[in-house]
Symmetry: C2
Subunit: 260 residues, 2 copies
Amino acid sequence: MLSHDKNGGMLSIVGIGPGSPGQLTGRARQALLESDVIIGNDVYLAQLGPLIEGKEVIRSSMGHEVERAKRSIELARSRRVAMVSGGDAGIYGMASIVLEVLEHECEEIKVEVIPGVTAATAAASLLGSPLSGDFAAVSLSDLLTPVEEIERRLHAAFSMGTPVVLYNPKSRGRPHNFALAMEIAGKFRSPETPVGIVKNAYREGEEIMVVTLGEVALADSKVDMHTTVIVGGEESRIWRYGHDVKGIITPRGYHKKYLY
Amino acid sequence: MLSHDKNGGMLSIVGIGPGSPGQLTGRARQALLESDVIIGNDVYLAQLGPLIEGKEVIRSSMGHEVERAKRSIELARSRRVAMVSGGDAGIYGMASIVLEVLEHECEEIKVEVIPGVTAATAAASLLGSPLSGDFAAVSLSDLLTPVEEIERRLHAAFSMGTPVVLYNPKSRGRPHNFALAMEIAGKFRSPETPVGIVKNAYREGEEIMVVTLGEVALADSKVDMHTTVIVGGEESRIWRYGHDVKGIITPRGYHKKYLY
């Protein structure tokens, strides 16, 4: 979305996708190249390499989002600023906090939100087609959402019967939320339900695992904050070629309507 | 995901994003350029312009997905084929049907799924930050899913308390599913809940509307098959600057933890 400017400055909130430069959209790339100042957290900036060379770069560490938002607005009064957000700019990204601060300060600057490939679809693409259609996305981070609220959302999400994507499944500070989520999943899904675990999608150290919900506890140590987990829906199945596991397929329903 | 090849051919299932070439990822662009044959439905091919010039192009119309999938597999035994999918390649895209046919035919060809910007995040970016975190996505198309199942999913999705994205909200053949979905939304959300309606996101004829759930019936005629609808969550609000409606904000929860 594009708002009106006043003093020549502009703020682009740029979703850079999962990590590799190949997953950037053309518009995201262009906004980075056109900006004078790049602001973002270290992990994401490191992925951009030559795209931000020679620019003023303001690095901040994870967890200082409010400060970062305020700083970016201040700078964008007169300069072209790109605020870098991992994945999509909106989903678990920087757009909401920037707009909340703008709203609170009753300030009007030119602001554009540039969408990107979010972790759900990045992880899904590496697993075959585990999403395919309807789904729910729930973050297991309890930094901003109480655990009771996360549990409520998980119950509702799994009762959709569709695949459920878990963002931020684990961190050092909350190692147990993932096991809790798998326990809730077990109330709604059979032990044969496929679970896809993707670590560092499209980044160095990429790992892809497919297990069943019944055996997911064995994969618990593989799950960390760089991981996205997709729990299959009621119709999802493991896709095999002979004995090889190739990924996960959630059928769209064509098999009910067409012969193939 | 990348599977093993046998005969030098390859099939890339390419998510091209919402429409404008600027929303293509680098990898999607590269896959199109490297392919000998491009296969897809007319509407999406028209958006690619010069990227597919000079290539063998196989156009098909909406609704022949199974045939298209079979044809692409046949060709990819020996040639480089790009199967074009609107938005993301997985979410309501072509990946599932291609992989289902591959699985059914016990065939092994080299296949890659290339993620793209899906309609949920494309529409959201034009509305400010209506998603921000957890959400559910439900298609209102009853071509492959019975209406009763759609209703069940909507009830569960709205009971998450989070925003809900509606894909395929209406078509000539099913003009009433949108009103039905709004009726279900009304059981879970107040009439003040913001509803964002985005038509032709990042394409010619782009239109962006923000209404409340209480007045959404007045916007019914604006909704068609090229529209994505985002119904706010329990905490979503309309973002204003003075009397101007700027979009929708769903706060992440920073306001509970930080002063700003």
